[in-house]
Amino acid sequence: MIYSLLRPAARTRENAVALLIVLAFLVLLAGITVAYISRTATARQVAHGSFNHAKSDQLARSALDIIVADFKQEIASAGTAPTNANIGPQRSPKPAAGSTPAIPNLIRRSVRSDSIPAPAVSSRGSAVNSTADASLDGRSISLTRWNTHYLVPKANTANTSSDPITSGFSAPNYWAPDWVVVTRNGPAAFNSWNTALSDASGGNSTFAIGRFAYAVYDEGGLLDANVVGLPSPTPSVTEIGRKGSAALADLTGMKITAGGSTPNPTTTSRIVAWRNYATVQSSGTFPALAPTPNASNFLNYFLDTSRDFRSVATTIYNNRTDQSFTNRRELIDLFRSSISASVNLLQFLGTFSRENNAPTWTAGTAILTQRFAIGQLALVIPNPSSASVADIQKYFGLKWIPGIPGSAGPPPTPATPGHWRYLGSTGSVMRDRIPAFTTTPEFFQLLNYAMNGTNTDDTTHIFTTLSIGAAIIDQYDGSAAADPTTGTTTTMIEYNGGWAFGLENSDPARPSPSPLPTPSPFPPPGGMSPTPPPAISTYVMLDRPFRNVGEFGYAFRASAAPTPTPSPNPKTIDFFTATSPDAPILDLFTYNTSNVRAGTVNLNTQNPAVIAALLKGAIMSEVSSSVVTHAPSNNAAASPTPNPNIGVIASTTSGSEGTLIKSATGRQDVSRLAAAAATTIGSSEEAKETVARALAEVTQTRTWGLLIDVVAQSGRYPPTASTLADFVVEGEKRYWLHVAIDRFTGQVIDQQLEEVFD
């Protein structure tokens, strides 16, 4: 009504004003609304990004759980009594018998139509490849990126990029993992496109929520970078040659490229000086660090029998401590730093190794949870102190009986040497048998168990077992370890039924026929009874503590009761023939006493360079101190043509079980592998047993050391998707999981999750 009363001109102005006011309000409201919506949209996008990050993280961790569970399932399916066919994880692709895999470290990867042998669980890979099949938004993972851990040999060994080889695999996927599609129902394999993957409706359990791809590498078959490496100047030839620790592996024995190049020892020494800074009292500045010329610090540290190498020493020097490669990224970063180590070496080095230091060989009803510590042999010294009497009986079943001086009479009485009496680990009655045991045998029970495969009462082998044990003791103790009454250095053990003797080449209680005949210190008519067995001129005496169980092979092996009659060529414990009955000894004794330790290598490693490093520098002859050089160590590891089936690696080919070519189930197989090395190191028994001395202490088979490389992508298939590659990636996460799984129990001993930022 008011409006109609206004003049036309006024009405027009008022219309315009009203329109302007309304428009202004609208603009204001629209502005506020747009700003608010924009703000919330931005916040939502940021939140969504954060959500996708968390989602891909959850996906990656779930993927790792699934993969580890698959390995545990594989163990459960195979049973806890491993055979050669299933002691290790099944490999895919499966290498041909007697061959070396194209990628030695690769155990398996997610792959379509997975033909991995039972009892392994299929990877559930779908027909879409992480490298060759780009996603809808153009994302793929190059082989170079898959190899940022450098565990696959490099294609171009002259630069530092992670470009891997592709030989042995077909284009365009090569060895790149296929994607495992994760649906609402979990991971599932798809060989072709399924429209349900993109159907987000509520009841569809096939709707894809993400995908992951993975590869698993044998990190347990690598040398642990936290342990290996020799300083320069190096310890003496004999110190390195006696081995006993993976730290004494000689990396210069490794062929780290196809052309045969070897690591630079100066760079290795610098790394040792960086890593064991306080222990080896390093000088200089990074990267030109140098250990102290006195190598004893290095040796004392790595030959410490109680050190498990899972943590660094507490030693302080220069207000600094030792270092440790805390993860693989740090190892790679150090190699690529100004220290300039060859990245070609990285394929042979790991940062995470664990071993449950327990035997794998078993017989009868025995249940052994730990190995016998070789160092306990130091207890068995004639006329022991009262403080060690109880331990000697506990660990050896022996009691010392002091000697009795003889007299010329009349009537004449012979001198009785101080000797040991075999009572078993409990009781005070002299035994006529090796007693039965179940869980914690003493030394002789364990020897008898190893050589004769029985843990029941054994009257048959008591003489040979006690004799061999005595010979081992004589090899271990020094020449000063003598009976104070008669001076005899030979270990004599009295049992209910006779005497068993060790063997010493030098025994002052024994008349020496040569080179200068000397009379018996106990002449008739009294004499001495019993007397030490005759010496053998060719018998090698160590007269020092053992560095590894392989050195038991120097001990004389008595064969029959009652009187030992050594031949000119003494038979010693056999660690060099494929079917040696003595071989289980290698698995039942240990130099290092840690229950779980780092630094040991899986005996079934497919890396010849790793075995070569462990062999190089090992003493072939205790008398001449000659050692294994570069070529023999490599030939023993993997013999070149024309003998492709000779060598340690070829003889442990997984899944190709034959008489001689099969995975090692335990350290007892080292004897078979020594046989496989044939005469590549030497033709004598001592030379052949170099393989046992070099490998037995530093290898294992019972723990799977895996590096699981997983890339997980959260995202979805849009409604327009028509192939398995049409995935829209919303978030991505990559992890390296280092995990150690006990093959016998299926338990995860230890693990380390390493987040990867490419």
């Binding site: 009363l5 919330t40 800074y277 660090l289 507490t314 993860n327 970063d333 150090l334």
Partner: protein, 286 residues
């Protein structure tokens, strides 16, 4: 001359004005409500936006925390009770600020704290230090990661105290209360990072810790200007420390109760305080 008779009666005008007033009031109320909602939403978004990257940063730091038995951690525990705001320091393989001319290693020392030094620009704000460390042996003056027996407090004291350090960054400018505790693998919540009933008495590479729970109180920027530093300090002091006897959710409930019961500080400021809690699950130690 025709006389106009189109004028309004007073009644009509009064009714019109009354209707207009009602309409204006209604629209005004509507606008006020809308403004309140958007302001509140904006404040929440401001706080959320501030906390999101902070929690993401913490997630990365914690996930890359070195978990080893041979390195030191600076953590609250029965032997290191931290009243009020907490402080945490540990080694992590995240990239850190690196001011050295030497070679940077992939390891950093990471620390979180509420700055408690009044008068500084970061007072009552959450700071994060990520100090990049050199490789071992780079020089005699720059310290690399050191293992036990060296402790973090003896090697990098500023990571464990309130002193200034140029490597601290302001990561939570409106976070004024920082508290953390542990979810142990035995399922219990604890203010000590080890399983005492299991006979453990040291952190040992976080072997017993399944997750670290971080509780934070933050205020949005607009509300922050309404409250003084001393009032914020007072407010923070009223937010209890975690104790082992608490059950899940107890801490935040107590904080909310304390905030609701605060009457000596401007209500709009107190009601703008938001509290958050997040669990950071740790992977097993190596």
């Amino acid at each position: 001359m025709r006389q106009s008779n189109n004028a309004f009666t007073i009644v009509e005008l009064l009714v019109s004005i009354a209707v207009l007033v009602v309409l204006v009031l209604l629209v005004g109320r509507l606008f006020t409500s809308a403004a309140t909602v958007t302001t509140s939403g904006n404040k929440r978004m401001d706080t959320d936006a501030q906390l999101r990257p902070l929690f993401d940063r913490m997630a990365v730091d914690f996930s890359q925390m070195l978990k080893r038995s041979d390195i030191d951690y600076y953590l609250k525990s029965s032997g290191n009770v931290q009243a009020g705001n907490d402080q945490i320091a540990f080694y992590s393989t995240v990239a850190g600020y690196f001011q050295s001319s030497g070679s940077q290693s992939p390891v950093s020392i990471v620390s979180y704290r509420i700055n408690s030094t009044s008068g500084t620009i970061s007072f009552n704000k959450l700071e994060r230090m990520s100090k990049g460390l050199v490789w071992n042996g780079v020089s005699n003056t720059e310290t690399p990661i050191v293992f036990l027996p060296f402790t973090i407090s003896s090697t990098w004291p500023t990571a464990t105290n309130s002193n200034s350090d140029p490597d601290y960054e302001l990561i939570g400018p409106y976070v004024f209360r920082f508290e953390y505790y542990y979810l142990l693998k035995n399922g219990n919540l604890s203010d000590t990072p080890w399983d005492t009933p299991a006979g453990h008495s040291s952190v040992d590479g976080m072997q017993d810790v399944a997750a670290i729970s971080v509780s934070i109180a933050a205020i949005d920027p607009k509300s922050r200007v309404l409250i003084s530093d001393s009032q914020l300090t007072t407010l923070a002091s009223r937010l209890n420390d975690f104790t082992t006897s608490m059950k899940p959710g107890d801490l935040l409930n107590q904080w909310q109760t304390a905030l609701d019961g605060t009457t000596d500080i401007a209500r709009p400021s107190v009601s703008a305080v938001r509290i958050y809690e997040r669990y950071f699950h740790l992977v097993p130690k190596s």
